[in-house]
Protein backbone atom coordinates (compact mmCIF):
# COMPACT_ATOMS: atom_id res chain seq x y z
CA UNK A 1 0.00 0.00 0.00
CA UNK A 2 2.74 2.44 1.03
CA UNK A 3 5.01 1.21 -1.77
CA UNK A 4 2.20 1.66 -4.29
CA UNK A 5 1.53 5.25 -3.14
CA UNK A 6 5.27 5.98 -3.10
CA UNK A 7 5.52 4.79 -6.69
CA UNK A 8 2.66 7.04 -7.83
CA UNK A 9 4.04 10.06 -5.99
CA UNK A 10 7.58 9.57 -7.33
CA UNK A 11 6.28 9.04 -10.88
CA UNK A 12 4.19 12.22 -10.69
CA UNK A 13 7.10 14.21 -9.27
CA UNK A 14 9.22 12.97 -12.14
CA UNK A 15 6.56 13.86 -14.73
CA UNK A 16 6.22 17.39 -13.33
CA UNK A 17 10.01 17.86 -13.05
CA UNK A 18 10.57 16.77 -16.64
CA UNK A 19 7.82 19.16 -17.80
CA UNK A 20 9.43 22.02 -15.87
CA UNK A 21 12.78 21.06 -17.38
CA UNK A 22 11.30 21.09 -20.88
CA UNK A 23 9.88 24.60 -20.33
CA UNK A 24 13.01 25.92 -18.60
CA UNK A 25 15.69 24.23 -20.74
CA UNK A 26 18.27 26.66 -22.11
CA UNK A 27 18.29 25.29 -25.65
CA UNK A 28 15.61 24.13 -28.04
CA UNK A 29 17.11 20.67 -28.47
CA UNK A 30 17.12 20.01 -24.73
CA UNK A 31 13.48 21.10 -24.49
CA UNK A 32 12.49 18.66 -27.24
CA UNK A 33 14.53 15.76 -25.78
CA UNK A 34 12.88 16.27 -22.39
CA UNK A 35 9.46 16.47 -24.02
CA UNK A 36 10.01 13.01 -25.55
CA UNK A 37 10.84 11.64 -22.09
CA UNK A 38 7.74 13.39 -20.74
CA UNK A 39 5.47 11.53 -23.18
CA UNK A 40 7.01 8.20 -22.22
CA UNK A 41 6.47 8.79 -18.50
CA UNK A 42 2.87 9.91 -19.09
CA UNK A 43 2.13 6.59 -20.80
CA UNK A 44 3.22 4.78 -17.62
CA UNK A 45 1.08 7.16 -15.57
CA UNK A 46 -1.99 6.19 -17.60
CA UNK A 47 -1.38 2.53 -16.78
CA UNK A 48 -1.39 3.44 -13.09
CA UNK A 49 -4.72 5.23 -13.57
CA UNK A 50 -6.21 2.03 -14.96
CA UNK A 51 -6.51 3.59 -18.41
CA UNK A 52 -4.41 1.20 -20.51
CA UNK A 53 -6.23 2.25 -23.71
CA UNK A 54 -5.06 5.82 -23.16
CA UNK A 55 -1.58 4.57 -22.24
CA UNK A 56 -1.36 2.77 -25.58
CA UNK A 57 -2.35 5.93 -27.46
CA UNK A 58 0.02 8.14 -25.48
CA UNK A 59 2.87 5.62 -25.82
CA UNK A 60 2.46 5.22 -29.57
CA UNK A 61 2.27 8.97 -30.16
CA UNK A 62 4.79 9.99 -27.50
CA UNK A 63 7.43 7.37 -28.19
CA UNK A 64 6.89 6.99 -31.92
CA UNK A 65 5.65 10.02 -33.79
CA UNK A 66 6.39 13.01 -31.54
CA UNK A 67 10.13 12.32 -31.46
CA UNK A 68 10.47 12.26 -35.24
CA UNK A 69 8.20 15.31 -35.72
CA UNK A 70 9.74 17.54 -33.04
CA UNK A 71 13.41 16.64 -33.65
CA UNK A 72 12.87 17.39 -37.34
CA UNK A 73 11.20 20.69 -36.45
CA UNK A 74 13.98 21.62 -34.02
CA UNK A 75 16.51 21.03 -36.80
CA UNK A 76 14.60 23.03 -39.44
CA UNK A 77 13.70 26.00 -37.24
CA UNK A 78 16.46 28.43 -36.29
CA UNK A 79 17.30 28.32 -32.60
CA UNK A 80 16.99 32.01 -31.81
CA UNK A 81 18.51 33.08 -28.48
CA UNK A 82 15.77 32.75 -25.88
CA UNK A 83 17.41 32.81 -22.47
CA UNK A 84 15.24 31.61 -19.57
CA UNK A 85 14.09 34.57 -17.54
CA UNK A 86 11.91 34.58 -14.50
CA UNK A 87 8.78 36.69 -14.96
CA UNK A 88 7.00 37.28 -11.68
CA UNK A 89 3.50 38.28 -12.84
CA UNK A 90 2.92 35.33 -15.22
CA UNK A 91 4.43 33.03 -12.60
CA UNK A 92 1.94 34.18 -9.96
CA UNK A 93 -0.99 33.94 -12.39
CA UNK A 94 -0.04 30.40 -13.42
CA UNK A 95 0.44 29.46 -9.78
CA UNK A 96 -3.09 30.73 -9.10
CA UNK A 97 -4.47 28.58 -11.96
CA UNK A 98 -2.69 25.49 -10.60
CA UNK A 99 -3.87 26.16 -7.07
CA UNK A 100 -7.43 26.62 -8.28
CA UNK A 101 -7.37 23.36 -10.24
CA UNK A 102 -5.72 21.60 -7.28
CA UNK A 103 -8.47 22.85 -4.96
CA UNK A 104 -11.05 21.56 -7.45
CA UNK A 105 -9.38 18.12 -7.44
CA UNK A 106 -9.40 18.04 -3.64
CA UNK A 107 -13.06 19.03 -3.44
CA UNK A 108 -14.08 16.55 -6.15
CA UNK A 109 -12.23 13.52 -4.83
CA UNK A 110 -15.25 11.75 -3.42
CA UNK A 111 -16.33 8.43 -4.94
CA UNK A 112 -18.63 8.91 -7.93
CA UNK A 113 -19.94 6.13 -10.16
CA UNK A 114 -19.80 8.46 -13.15
CA UNK A 115 -21.05 6.88 -16.36
CA UNK A 116 -19.70 3.41 -15.54
CA UNK A 117 -23.10 1.82 -14.71
CA UNK A 118 -24.68 3.25 -17.86
CA UNK A 119 -21.86 1.89 -20.05
CA UNK A 120 -21.94 -1.51 -18.30
CA UNK A 121 -25.71 -1.79 -18.80
CA UNK A 122 -25.47 -1.20 -22.53
CA UNK A 123 -22.16 -2.96 -23.19
CA UNK A 124 -23.86 -6.18 -24.28
CA UNK A 125 -25.76 -4.32 -27.01
CA UNK A 126 -22.69 -2.43 -28.25
CA UNK A 127 -21.15 -5.36 -30.12
CA UNK A 128 -17.77 -5.20 -28.35
CA UNK A 129 -16.46 -6.16 -24.89
CA UNK A 130 -14.02 -3.29 -24.33
CA UNK A 131 -16.01 -0.40 -22.82
CA UNK A 132 -13.64 2.23 -24.23
CA UNK A 133 -14.06 0.88 -27.77
CA UNK A 134 -17.83 0.74 -27.19
CA UNK A 135 -17.84 4.44 -26.25
CA UNK A 136 -15.53 5.44 -29.11
CA UNK A 137 -17.29 3.61 -31.92
CA UNK A 138 -20.85 3.13 -30.72
CA UNK A 139 -22.12 5.29 -27.85
CA UNK A 140 -20.25 8.40 -28.90
CA UNK A 141 -19.53 7.48 -32.51
CA UNK A 142 -20.29 11.04 -33.57
CA UNK A 143 -17.19 12.36 -31.78
CA UNK A 144 -14.96 9.77 -33.35
CA UNK A 145 -16.37 10.31 -36.85
CA UNK A 146 -15.79 14.06 -36.64
CA UNK A 147 -12.34 13.49 -35.17
CA UNK A 148 -11.28 11.23 -38.03
CA UNK A 149 -12.34 14.04 -40.39
CA UNK A 150 -10.39 16.61 -38.34
CA UNK A 151 -7.19 14.62 -38.94
CA UNK A 152 -7.69 14.81 -42.71
CA UNK A 153 -8.48 18.54 -42.49
CA UNK A 154 -5.24 19.13 -40.54
CA UNK A 155 -3.33 17.27 -43.27
CA UNK A 156 -4.96 19.42 -45.97
CA UNK A 157 -3.86 22.44 -43.94
CA UNK A 158 -0.27 21.20 -43.87
CA UNK A 159 -0.27 20.47 -47.60
CA UNK A 160 -1.71 23.92 -48.33
CA UNK A 161 1.51 25.45 -46.98
CA UNK A 162 3.55 24.05 -49.88
CA UNK A 163 5.06 26.54 -52.33
CA UNK A 164 3.28 26.80 -55.69
CA UNK A 165 5.75 24.75 -57.71
CA UNK A 166 5.61 21.83 -55.26
CA UNK A 167 1.83 21.85 -54.87
CA UNK A 168 1.49 18.17 -55.77
CA UNK A 169 5.05 17.06 -55.02
CA UNK A 170 6.43 14.42 -52.73
CA UNK A 171 6.61 15.03 -48.95
CA UNK A 172 9.86 14.60 -47.05
CA UNK A 173 13.44 14.65 -48.32
CA UNK A 174 15.08 11.95 -50.45
CA UNK A 175 16.76 9.73 -47.86
CA UNK A 176 20.45 8.98 -48.16
CA UNK A 177 20.96 5.52 -46.71
CA UNK A 178 23.77 3.04 -47.08
CA UNK A 179 22.29 -0.15 -48.49
CA UNK A 180 22.44 -3.25 -46.27
CA UNK A 181 24.04 -1.25 -43.48
CA UNK A 182 22.63 -1.12 -39.95
CA UNK A 183 19.75 1.35 -40.38
CA UNK A 184 18.69 -0.14 -43.71
CA UNK A 185 18.61 -3.66 -42.26
CA UNK A 186 16.70 -2.49 -39.20
CA UNK A 187 14.19 -0.78 -41.50
CA UNK A 188 13.56 -4.08 -43.28
CA UNK A 189 13.42 -6.11 -40.05
CA UNK A 190 10.91 -3.97 -38.16
CA UNK A 191 7.95 -3.47 -40.55
CA UNK A 192 6.78 -7.13 -40.55
CA UNK A 193 6.82 -7.20 -36.75
CA UNK A 194 5.20 -3.75 -36.62
CA UNK A 195 2.45 -4.84 -39.00
CA UNK A 196 1.78 -7.87 -36.82
CA UNK A 197 1.65 -5.76 -33.64
CA UNK A 198 -0.61 -3.20 -35.34
CA UNK A 199 -3.11 -5.81 -36.52
CA UNK A 200 -3.01 -7.44 -33.08
CA UNK A 201 -3.78 -4.13 -31.35
CA UNK A 202 -6.76 -3.26 -33.55
CA UNK A 203 -8.10 -6.81 -33.34
CA UNK A 204 -7.78 -7.09 -29.57
CA UNK A 205 -9.40 -3.65 -29.20
CA UNK A 206 -12.80 -5.34 -29.48
CA UNK A 207 -12.51 -6.83 -26.00
CA UNK A 208 -9.32 -5.53 -24.36
CA UNK A 209 -7.26 -2.32 -24.45
CA UNK A 210 -6.41 -1.39 -28.03
CA UNK A 211 -8.20 -0.08 -31.11
CA UNK A 212 -7.96 1.90 -34.31
CA UNK A 213 -6.16 4.98 -32.98
CA UNK A 214 -3.45 3.04 -31.18
CA UNK A 215 -2.94 0.58 -34.05
CA UNK A 216 -3.02 3.36 -36.66
CA UNK A 217 -0.32 5.25 -34.78
CA UNK A 218 1.87 2.14 -34.57
CA UNK A 219 1.52 1.50 -38.30
CA UNK A 220 2.26 5.15 -39.07
CA UNK A 221 5.41 5.02 -36.94
CA UNK A 222 6.62 1.80 -38.55
CA UNK A 223 6.00 3.18 -42.04
CA UNK A 224 7.96 6.32 -41.13
CA UNK A 225 10.85 4.18 -39.92
CA UNK A 226 10.84 2.27 -43.20
CA UNK A 227 10.93 5.62 -45.04
CA UNK A 228 13.80 6.94 -42.91
CA UNK A 229 15.68 3.67 -43.43
CA UNK A 230 15.35 4.03 -47.20
CA UNK A 231 13.15 0.93 -47.54
CA UNK A 232 9.94 2.74 -48.53
CA UNK A 233 9.30 5.97 -50.41
CA UNK A 234 6.46 8.37 -49.52
CA UNK A 235 4.05 8.82 -52.47
CA UNK A 236 3.43 12.20 -54.15
CA UNK A 237 0.46 13.84 -52.48
CA UNK A 238 -1.59 13.84 -55.68
CA UNK A 239 -1.60 10.04 -56.08
CA UNK A 240 -5.36 9.12 -56.13
CA UNK A 241 -4.94 5.73 -54.43
CA UNK A 242 -3.33 7.35 -51.40
CA UNK A 243 -5.90 10.10 -51.26
CA UNK A 244 -8.57 7.41 -51.28
CA UNK A 245 -6.81 5.67 -48.38
CA UNK A 246 -6.88 8.92 -46.38
CA UNK A 247 -10.67 9.14 -46.54
CA UNK A 248 -11.50 5.41 -46.61
CA UNK A 249 -11.96 5.11 -42.82
CA UNK A 250 -14.12 8.23 -42.36
CA UNK A 251 -16.16 7.23 -45.44
CA UNK A 252 -16.88 3.71 -44.14
CA UNK A 253 -17.72 5.22 -40.75
CA UNK A 254 -20.13 7.69 -42.35
CA UNK A 255 -21.76 4.95 -44.47
CA UNK A 256 -22.22 2.78 -41.39
CA UNK A 257 -23.77 5.76 -39.64
CA UNK A 258 -26.15 6.40 -42.55
CA UNK A 259 -27.06 2.71 -42.55
CA UNK A 260 -28.05 3.22 -38.91
CA UNK A 261 -30.60 5.80 -40.04
CA UNK A 262 -32.64 2.88 -41.41
CA UNK A 263 -32.88 1.55 -37.87
CA UNK A 264 -34.01 4.76 -36.31
CA UNK A 265 -31.17 7.17 -35.79
CA UNK A 266 -27.96 8.28 -37.49
CA UNK A 267 -24.90 6.48 -36.01
CA UNK A 268 -26.96 3.83 -34.21
CA UNK A 269 -26.03 0.19 -34.80
CA UNK A 270 -28.48 -2.70 -34.44
CA UNK A 271 -27.06 -5.03 -31.75
CA UNK A 272 -26.99 -8.02 -34.11
CA UNK A 273 -24.90 -6.18 -36.72
CA UNK A 274 -22.90 -3.96 -34.37
CA UNK A 275 -19.86 -6.22 -34.07
CA UNK A 276 -19.40 -6.61 -37.86
CA UNK A 277 -19.87 -2.91 -38.44
CA UNK A 278 -17.53 -1.84 -35.68
CA UNK A 279 -14.81 -4.18 -36.89
CA UNK A 280 -15.21 -2.91 -40.48
CA UNK A 281 -14.91 0.66 -39.22
CA UNK A 282 -11.98 -0.18 -36.96
CA UNK A 283 -9.89 -1.82 -39.68
CA UNK A 284 -10.50 0.82 -42.36
CA UNK A 285 -10.07 3.62 -39.81
CA UNK A 286 -6.74 2.10 -38.73
CA UNK A 287 -5.48 2.29 -42.33
CA UNK A 288 -6.66 5.88 -42.79
CA UNK A 289 -5.27 7.04 -39.45
CA UNK A 290 -1.92 5.38 -40.21
CA UNK A 291 -1.57 7.12 -43.57
CA UNK A 292 -2.85 10.48 -42.25
CA UNK A 293 -0.58 10.59 -39.19
CA UNK A 294 2.51 9.52 -41.13
CA UNK A 295 1.80 12.16 -43.79
CA UNK A 296 1.33 14.75 -41.03
CA UNK A 297 4.81 13.95 -39.70
CA UNK A 298 6.35 14.02 -43.20
CA UNK A 299 4.86 17.48 -43.64
CA UNK A 300 4.18 19.48 -46.77
CA UNK A 301 5.56 18.47 -50.18
CA UNK A 302 9.26 19.35 -50.36
CA UNK A 303 10.41 17.95 -53.71
CA UNK A 304 8.93 17.31 -57.17
CA UNK A 305 6.91 14.13 -57.64
Amino acid sequence: MIASAAFDILLCLLIVTVAVGSVAARDLFGAVALYIVYGLLLAIGWVRLGAVDVGLAEGAIGAGLTGVLLLGAAARLKAAPDPPRLRIVPLLLCLAVSLGLGAAVLSLSVPQPGLVPLVQENLAASGVGNPVTAVLLNFRGWDTLVESVVLVVALVGVWALAPDDLWDGRPGAAQRVKRDAVLNTFGRLLPPVGLMVGIYIVWIGAYAPGGAFQAGTVLAAVWLLAIMAGVAEPPPVRRPLWRALLVLGPAVFLLAGLHGTLWGAFMSFAPAKAKTMIMAIEFTLTLSIAVTLAMLVLGRPRRPA
Binding site: A3, G30, L71, G72
Partner: protein
Protein backbone atom coordinates in the same frame (compact mmCIF):
# COMPACT_ATOMS: atom_id res chain seq x y z
CA UNK B 1 5.70 -10.44 -3.63
CA UNK B 2 3.78 -7.32 -4.70
CA UNK B 3 5.70 -5.13 -2.27
CA UNK B 4 9.01 -6.47 -3.59
CA UNK B 5 7.87 -5.73 -7.13
CA UNK B 6 7.03 -2.18 -6.10
CA UNK B 7 10.49 -1.78 -4.57
CA UNK B 8 11.99 -2.99 -7.87
CA UNK B 9 9.79 -0.52 -9.76
CA UNK B 10 10.97 2.28 -7.45
CA UNK B 11 14.62 1.39 -8.16
CA UNK B 12 13.99 1.60 -11.90
CA UNK B 13 12.13 4.89 -11.43
CA UNK B 14 15.19 6.26 -9.61
CA UNK B 15 17.25 5.15 -12.63
CA UNK B 16 14.87 7.08 -14.87
CA UNK B 17 15.30 10.18 -12.70
CA UNK B 18 19.09 9.97 -12.98
CA UNK B 19 18.94 9.49 -16.76
CA UNK B 20 16.58 12.47 -17.02
CA UNK B 21 19.35 14.55 -15.46
CA UNK B 22 21.64 13.52 -18.35
CA UNK B 23 18.94 14.43 -20.86
CA UNK B 24 18.75 17.91 -19.32
CA UNK B 25 22.50 18.52 -19.07
CA UNK B 26 23.96 16.63 -22.03
CA UNK B 27 26.67 17.79 -22.74
CA UNK B 28 26.57 16.28 -26.24
CA UNK B 29 23.32 15.94 -28.17
CA UNK B 30 24.06 12.22 -28.50
CA UNK B 31 24.10 12.03 -24.68
CA UNK B 32 20.63 13.49 -24.48
CA UNK B 33 19.19 11.09 -27.04
CA UNK B 34 20.99 8.24 -25.28
CA UNK B 35 19.29 9.31 -22.06
CA UNK B 36 15.91 9.21 -23.78
CA UNK B 37 16.79 5.75 -25.14
CA UNK B 38 17.75 4.55 -21.64
CA UNK B 39 14.47 5.89 -20.27
CA UNK B 40 12.70 3.96 -23.03
CA UNK B 41 14.37 0.69 -21.98
CA UNK B 42 13.66 1.46 -18.31
CA UNK B 43 10.06 2.23 -19.22
CA UNK B 44 9.73 -1.20 -20.84
CA UNK B 45 11.17 -2.84 -17.71
CA UNK B 46 8.80 -0.79 -15.52
CA UNK B 47 5.84 -1.92 -17.59
CA UNK B 48 6.89 -5.57 -17.32
CA UNK B 49 6.96 -5.11 -13.53
CA UNK B 50 3.60 -3.31 -13.59
CA UNK B 51 2.23 -6.21 -15.64
CA UNK B 52 3.20 -8.56 -12.81
CA UNK B 53 1.64 -6.18 -10.27
CA UNK B 54 -1.64 -5.43 -12.10
CA UNK B 55 -1.89 -8.74 -13.94
CA UNK B 56 -3.59 -7.09 -16.92
CA UNK B 57 -2.28 -8.24 -20.29
CA UNK B 58 -2.92 -4.78 -21.76
CA UNK B 59 0.05 -3.49 -19.76
CA UNK B 60 2.26 -6.06 -21.49
CA UNK B 61 0.88 -4.91 -24.85
CA UNK B 62 2.02 -1.39 -23.99
CA UNK B 63 5.49 -2.76 -23.12
CA UNK B 64 5.51 -4.48 -26.52
CA UNK B 65 4.52 -1.23 -28.22
CA UNK B 66 7.25 0.77 -26.48
CA UNK B 67 9.81 -1.93 -27.34
CA UNK B 68 8.71 -1.78 -30.98
CA UNK B 69 9.12 2.00 -31.08
CA UNK B 70 12.25 2.11 -28.89
CA UNK B 71 14.56 3.23 -31.71
CA UNK B 72 12.34 5.97 -33.12
CA UNK B 73 13.59 9.04 -31.30
CA UNK B 74 17.21 8.09 -31.97
CA UNK B 75 16.63 7.41 -35.69
CA UNK B 76 14.70 10.68 -35.94
CA UNK B 77 17.67 12.40 -34.29
CA UNK B 78 20.37 11.07 -36.63
CA UNK B 79 18.16 12.00 -39.57
CA UNK B 80 17.57 15.52 -38.29
CA UNK B 81 21.31 16.23 -38.04
CA UNK B 82 21.61 17.10 -41.74
CA UNK B 83 20.14 20.27 -43.21
CA UNK B 84 17.48 18.49 -45.25
CA UNK B 85 16.67 15.84 -42.64
CA UNK B 86 17.78 13.00 -44.88
CA UNK B 87 21.32 12.35 -43.69
CA UNK B 88 22.72 9.17 -42.24
CA UNK B 89 25.92 8.81 -40.22
CA UNK B 90 26.55 5.53 -42.03
CA UNK B 91 26.96 7.37 -45.33
CA UNK B 92 30.38 9.06 -45.24
CA UNK B 93 30.32 12.62 -46.52
CA UNK B 94 26.61 12.37 -47.28
CA UNK B 95 26.94 11.06 -50.86
CA UNK B 96 24.79 8.29 -52.23
CA UNK B 97 26.38 4.84 -52.36
Amino acid sequence: MTDLLYVAALVILANVAVSAWRVLHGPARADRIMGAQLIGTSGVALLVLLYLIHGSSGVLDLALLLALLAAFAAVGYVKSRSADGAGDPEVAGGEDP
